[in-house]
């Protein structure tokens, strides 16, 4: 059942990078779409083009060296690739918000959490009068204890998990329609990872927001994502519902990736690695 107007519709997207050895294809004709409130995981290894794809939604890639060689990115029916700088800035944060891999470096060390979230709110929601109350509300929503006090902290006073929660609060405070989480838990330890993912799951239902989760780890998408796109060398090699892809992977690369997850209780001497010779 396809809705006529998906929230995000990427059609045959091609991105190249100018390097010293000539043009390199980073994304080779990727297409997928995402409806309102849906959660999509883009899974793939380093260099597969998943982050580049995600950053292209609001043209965050530095151009040059990046170059859009073809395709369309339709956000609410409008082509992002044809937008001017002002339109892009309105979408960035306000409609599509990002959280990144390294929470410890994603916050500016010279400002308090409060002033950084306040900046985001002022940018996209100038009608909010009681900014502090709004900050407390969002910090509370992402599970920071005693938000009225903690918002006056500098980033170095927070733990990695709390920093990532603050980043999520900053992203959510602009009330985006889509949250792009680029490896949000890679830098965190496993227990914190589970907490953050749980938090994302809760927030998704609470605010009816679409999420694109970018990861190389199949283990974390179950229970959070509706759809999965597997990227390999700049192409989506498999696309389907999370259940289908996880239980019945079709492409050999997907199978290889799933095999890489260490299984509890499995009688396995060595962890499986990917044999690229077989895939090529």
């Amino acid at each position: 059942m396809e809705k006529p107007n998906p929230l995000l519709d990427v059609r045959n997207l091609k991105i190249q990078f100018a390097t010293e050895d000539g043009l390199v294809d980073a994304v080779k004709g990727t297409s997928f779409s995402l409806n309102k409130g849906e959660t999509l995981a883009i899974v793939g290894e380093s260099g597969s083009g998943k982050s580049v794809t995600a950053l292209s939604f609001t043209r965050l890639l530095p151009e040059p060296p990046a170059k859009f060689a073809g395709g369309e990115i339709l956000w609410k029916g409008q082509d992002v690739l044809k937008m001017n700088a002002r339109q892009l800035r309105a979408i960035r944060g306000g409609e599509i918000a990002y959280i990144f891999q390294e929470p410890s470096t994603s916050l500016n060390p010279v400002y308090t959490i409060r002033s950084q979230i306040a900046e985001a709110i002022r940018l996209h929601r100038p009608d909010v009068t009681d900014v502090d109350a709004e900050i407390v509300k969002w910090l509370d929503a992402v599970g920071i204890v005693n938000p009225a006090k903690r918002m006056h902290d500098y980033p170095h006073q927070l733990s990695g998990g709390m920093q990532q929660r603050a980043m999520i609060a900053m992203a959510l405070s602009c009330q985006p329609d889509l949250l792009v989480a680029d490896e949000p838990t890679t830098a965190l330890d496993v227990t914190i990872q589970a907490q953050i993912l749980g938090q994302l799951r809760e927030l998704r239902t609470k605010f009816d927001m679409a999420i694109i989760l970018i990861t190389h780890n199949f283990a974390i998408i179950r229970g959070l994502c509706d759809k999965v796109a597997v990227m390999f060398r700049g192409e989506i090699v498999e696309f389907g519902t999370a259940e289908e892809v996880l239980s019945n992977p079709q492409h050999p690369y997907t199978r290889a990736l799933i095999d890489c997850i260490p299984k509890l209780g499995a009688n396995q001497k060595r962890l499986r690695t990917i044999d690229y010779a077989k895939l090529a």
Binding site: T58, L60, P64, L88, R89, A90, I91, R92, G93, G94, A97, Y98, F100, Q101, E102, T105, S106, L107, N108, P109, V110, Y111, E119, A120, L123, H124, H152, D153, Y154, H156, Q157, M167, M170, A171, C174
Partner: protein, 289 residues
């Protein structure tokens, strides 16, 4: 919990540093002297004596109780001249650095943040300016526009911003790749708020250090210009032109060279040491937790 901003923590480290405290105390004394004698100069108060009153009867006298630092070839009191000249040196130091900072920071920031062809053009211009021997460039410029205090300050500032620009550019090249800049961009923040609000405060410590180190360099440049006769013009006393006037009597009247020289030396040293201490304080890795 350590709820202090990075700047507050840097200040706390600075205050624990003995050399930093001694040099900043010296700078404060210098600044107070300069301000006091600037006020005395414009109100024509002859304290300790009129720095421009000649007394040929008592010329070239060695230091004594009457003239603590001796008199020059026109019988003017050297102590009075040094004190009344102090504000020239400090004004030159601070204002020239302010001019060069304003240009250097903006040029370096734009160049480093935008990169690409903007950076290429700007940096080639900077290279071209650096290729000129600075002192002779200043000398020619001052000779061209006339040696007033304002002209000297502006010329020194206009010539010496290149170092700051390079430093700021280098800082920006690193910081623009940082995650918080990426995060600010992803929130829809524009280029100029990112440059001035997000990157510049993180580059403030090294910029501040070069500024403080730039002050004595400007003071020395002005002294050099005065010595060559292109500085602030007589009868206004400056540390440089007291030495210049005294150079003819160097074998007979050592006090004409030594005392203004000591004044230049102490103030330059104080600023250099303060700048160095600031650099140490800014480097948080040296702090033991």
């Amino acid at each position: 919990m350590d709820n202090r901003s990075p700047a507050q923590r840097m200040l706390a480290r600075f205050r624990r540093d003995r050399i930093a405290m001694i040099s900043s105390a010296t700078i404060i004394v210098l600044a107070l002297t300069a301000i006091t004698f600037w006020i005395l100069s414009i109100t024509n108060v002859p304290f300790p004596e009129n720095p421009n009153a000649t007394d040929l009867q008592s010329k070239l006298q060695p230091p004594s109780f009457e003239h603590w630092l001796g008199t020059d070839n026109l019988g003017r009191d050297v102590l009075s001249r040094i004190l009344h000249g102090s504000y020239i040196s400090l004004t030159v130091g601070f204002v020239a650095v302010a001019v060069s900072l304003c240009i250097g920071v903006v040029v370096g920031a734009v160049s480093g943040y935008f990169g690409g062809w903007v950076d290429n053009i700007v940096m080639r211009v900077v290279d071209a300016i650096i290729c000129f021997p600075t002192f002779f460039l200043i000398l020619s410029a001052v000779a061209l526009v006339g040696p007033s205090l304002l002209n000297i300050v502006i010329v020194i500032g206009l010539v010496s911003w290149t170092g700051t620009a390079r430093l700021v550019r280098a800082e920006f090249l690193t910081l623009r790749e940082s995650q918080y800049v990426k995060a600010a961009r992803s929130l829809g923040q524009g280029s100029f708020p990112i440059i001035f609000k997000h990157i510049l405060p993180n580059a403030a410590a090294p910029i501040f250090v070069t500024a403080v180190i730039g002050i004595p360099e400007a003071i020395l440049t002005e002294a050099g210009l005065s010595y060559l006769g292109f500085g602030v013009q007589p009868p206004q006393a400056t540390w440089g032109n007291i030495i210049a006037d005294g150079k003819a009597y160097i074998l007979d009247a050592w006090w004409l060279i030594v005392f203004p020289g000591v004044a230049i030396f102490i103030s330059a040293l104080a600023f250099f040491l303060a700048g160095d201490a600031l650099r140490r304080a800014g480097n948080s890795k040296s702090e033991t937790h």
